[in-house]
């Protein structure tokens, strides 16, 4: 790659080839119109090839280091740990550029798009974090970006809309359905059908048609790989007893868990009570994949409702559905009130205002430490997927007792 100079951060062993058919038990697959199948196949081929190419890995590692600021810190939550009687370690994705883990995936896909000769990125966004990350990566690599966003989210997230525009992206309002993330995702898929030859669909989580769930997990596994190595330095036991992450589409959780699936750590995924596809959904197909989906008794997809816009998605990545069925990961929910309380608790004890999404993981730790589900003296790794700057208006509205803080 011409404009990204040689390696600064050495990587480990040669990358392994990736063999997958895109199925996770009964879930996953490629449920898209025939017209899109070749585009998905091309992404699959390009990703498989790139992921096994040490040069691609070096280029990506370098961008992650010098642009996104990786590795992110592992911060012991000293005061909170003392209060709870458990050792809490925070994986600080909030410190990554643009303020969340979304940048990890987007830099990978933007590099891939260039490798595939695509000059434009398409993306869906809900809260705007993935849209901002996509606009950022596009600017960095000299690509154009078109971001689909529900009209209601555009109203709720005006700041992120403007951030995208400053970064040079075009934000397209979506007026179908509930005018939120699920409709923006449908619209991005529709748009991709007509421009797949010149644009890459830069999907924002571990969902969508194969290869996206696998590819996005691989781009996010840097979270888990780093945390695993950092825990080995930080903890006498090397591996924490519990690993916790919030689950919207499931990308920060998938990336985190990827580093610990082979360990004895208990893995916990925390959904928003109002957007809990695994806890309250049924198997279905949405946006090109089979998984748990919130739906009514007739098979119409429901709307999710959470104080955290990034968790307002009625589906969940197919690998999570499978990990739930096999029992390897325990999925649970927390409600908006616990989440708001968790933001404030972490802010006061650790000096970190985390994103409302990330606060779901923190809230579960607070609850589990109180209930005894987390025994005294145990160790817990919590992924803080993002920072809370984007949520300040929501926090203020909640403080002022506004009825609808969503």
């Amino acid at each position: 790659m011409a404009t990204v100079p040689a390696l600064l951060t050495p990587t480990g062993s040669a990358p392994a080839a990736l063999a997958t058919d895109g199925r996770f038990g009964d879930y996953g697959g490629r449920f898209v119109p025939e017209a899109l199948v070749p585009a998905c196949e091309e992404v699959e081929r390009a990703f498989t090839d790139a992921w096994a190419d040490p040069r691609f890995r070096r280029d990506l590692d370098r961008l992650l280091a010098v642009h996104a600021g990786r590795p992110t810190a592992l911060t012991p939550a000293w005061r909170l740990s003392a209060e709870l009687g458990v050792t809490v370690l925070l994986k600080r994705e909030d410190l990554a550029h643009t303020g969340s883990h979304k940048i990890n995936n987007v830099l990978g896909q933007a590099l891939l798009a260039r490798r595939m000769g695509r000059g434009r990125l398409l993306a869906e966004t809900g809260a705007g974090q993935h849209g901002v990350a996509t606009a950022t990566a596009a600017a960095l690599l000299g690509l154009r970006a078109t971001v689909y966003m529900g009209e209601r989210d555009i109203e709720r997230q005006a700041l992120n809309v403007y951030r995208m525009e400053v970064l040079g992206a075009e934000v397209v309002p979506v007026r179908t359905g509930s005018r939120t993330l699920k409709d923006a995702t449908s619209e991005a898929l529709r748009a991709w059908v007509s421009c797949a030859d010149e644009a890459h669909y830069c999907l924002g989580s571990v969902m969508g048609p194969h290869p996206y769930p696998t590819m996005v997990r691989e781009f996010q596994r840097v979270i888990g790989d780093e945390a695993r190595a950092q825990c080995a330095r930080e903890l006498p036991t090397a591996v924490p007893d519990h690993v916790v992450a919030c689950v919207g589409g499931g990308s920060n959780a998938a990336g985190t868990f990827a580093g610990f699936l082979g360990t004895g750590a208990r893995l916990v995924g925390v959904e928003a009570a109002g957007g809990a596809a695994i806890t309250h959904g049924r198997p279905g197909t949405l946006h090109g994949f089979r998984s748990y989906v919130l739906q009514d008794e007739h098979g119409q997809v429901g709307e999710a409702h959470s104080v955290a816009a990034g968790l307002d998605y009625p589906g969940v990545g197919p690998e999570h559905a499978h990990l739930a069925d096999t029992g390897r990961v325990h999925y649970t929910t927390v409600g908006d009130d616990e989440v708001l309380a968790a933001v404030h608790r972490l802010a006061r004890t650790e000096g970190i205002i985390c994103a409302l999404e990330s606060a779901h993981a923190v809230a579960w730790v607070l609850r589990a430490a109180t209930s005894g589900e987390l025994p005294r003296g145990c160790t817990v790794l919590v992924t803080l997927s993002g920072r809370g700057d984007k949520d300040i208006a929501t926090l203020m509205a909640a403080r002022d007792g506004a009825g609808d803080v969503r």
Partner: protein
């Protein structure tokens, strides 16, 4: 190519014999649940439709453009469900075969075998599920076959030659040739991608090849009929319904398309 191992059902035979007799096939789309939809099926049959597509609305239709998206939203807002529609179909005493078009979640929600059994009980003879591409179609195809439902597959301008052959061979009733890389919608002209795809498919199968997606006007229908065995027309008709036109008036638009095809 080996001879097709699966024989078709009622839709397959009906369309096959009409096409063999030299007729250009016309398959209009009705969004079930919109005002007057049931009467519209009868109007379409009288106006020269060879089969009628019955759209079962879904909340997230990824192959549909603005017109059919809005139609689905309105139908759902009115309380339309697959069950209410299938319960009404037998009472229509439709004079032409009915083909249900819906999305995979609606099918999988009941399970493909139960859904196909319900179609058969309602007198439906074909099924189109645009978000189940060929590579994912084995289960659904089997369920359709077990109930004598013709499973219509889609091909697109982007479909590579090998898969085009498999789609052409496996599709029953007709082969749905996507005229354009895009969604359903109203378009002025027959897209340039249409003729090539239709010709490629016709070289691969004796099953009728129908062009759909964006065929709206008599002129584009006539152009499509010159290269394919007929057309599927959706958004242009659904738009009329959304704009408040009654079944008789929408039927007249279809009659104009019929005339254009017969002159072609």
């Amino acid at each position: 190519m080996s001879a097709a191992t699966v024989t078709g059902g009622a839709l397959h035979r009906h369309l096959g014999s009409r096409a063999a007799a030299g007729r250009s096939l016309l398959v209009p789309y009705v969004m079930a649940g919109l005002p007057g939809w049931a009467e519209l099926v009868g109007e379409f049959a009288a106006a020269g439709a060879d089969a009628v597509e019955i759209g079962l609305p879904f909340s997230d239709p990824i192959l549909d453009g603005p017109v059919i998206c809005e139609a689905a939203e309105r139908a759902l807002a009115g309380g339309t469900t697959a069950a209410t529609v299938l319960a009404e179909l037998p009472g229509l005493a439709a004079q032409v075969p009915l083909v249900v078009m819906t999305y995979s979640n609606i099918v999988l929600h009941r399970g493909a075998p139960a859904f196909c059994a319900a179609l058969r009980a309602a007198g439906v003879s074909g099924l189109i599920v645009p978000d189940v591409p060929f590579a994912e179609a084995a289960e659904l195809g089997g369920a359709c076959g077990a109930e004598g439902i013709d499973h219509v597959l889609l091909a697109a301008p982007s479909t590579p030659p090998g898969r085009l052959g498999e789609v052409a061979q496996r599709s029953r009733g007709f082969v749905y040739a996507s005229a354009v890389m895009g969604t359903t919608g109203v378009r002025e002209h027959l897209p340039a991608t249409a003729a090539r795809l239709a010709a490629d498919l016709k070289a691969l199968t004796g099953t009728p090849v129908l062009l759909g997606l964006g065929i709206s006007s008599p002129a584009s229908a006539r152009a499509a009929a010159a290269v394919a065995d007929g057309v599927v027309v959706g958004s242009a008709l659904v738009r009329d319904v959304l704009e408040g036109r009654g079944p008789a008036e929408v039927g007249r638009r279809l009659a104009a398309l019929r005339t254009a095809l017969d002159e072609a």
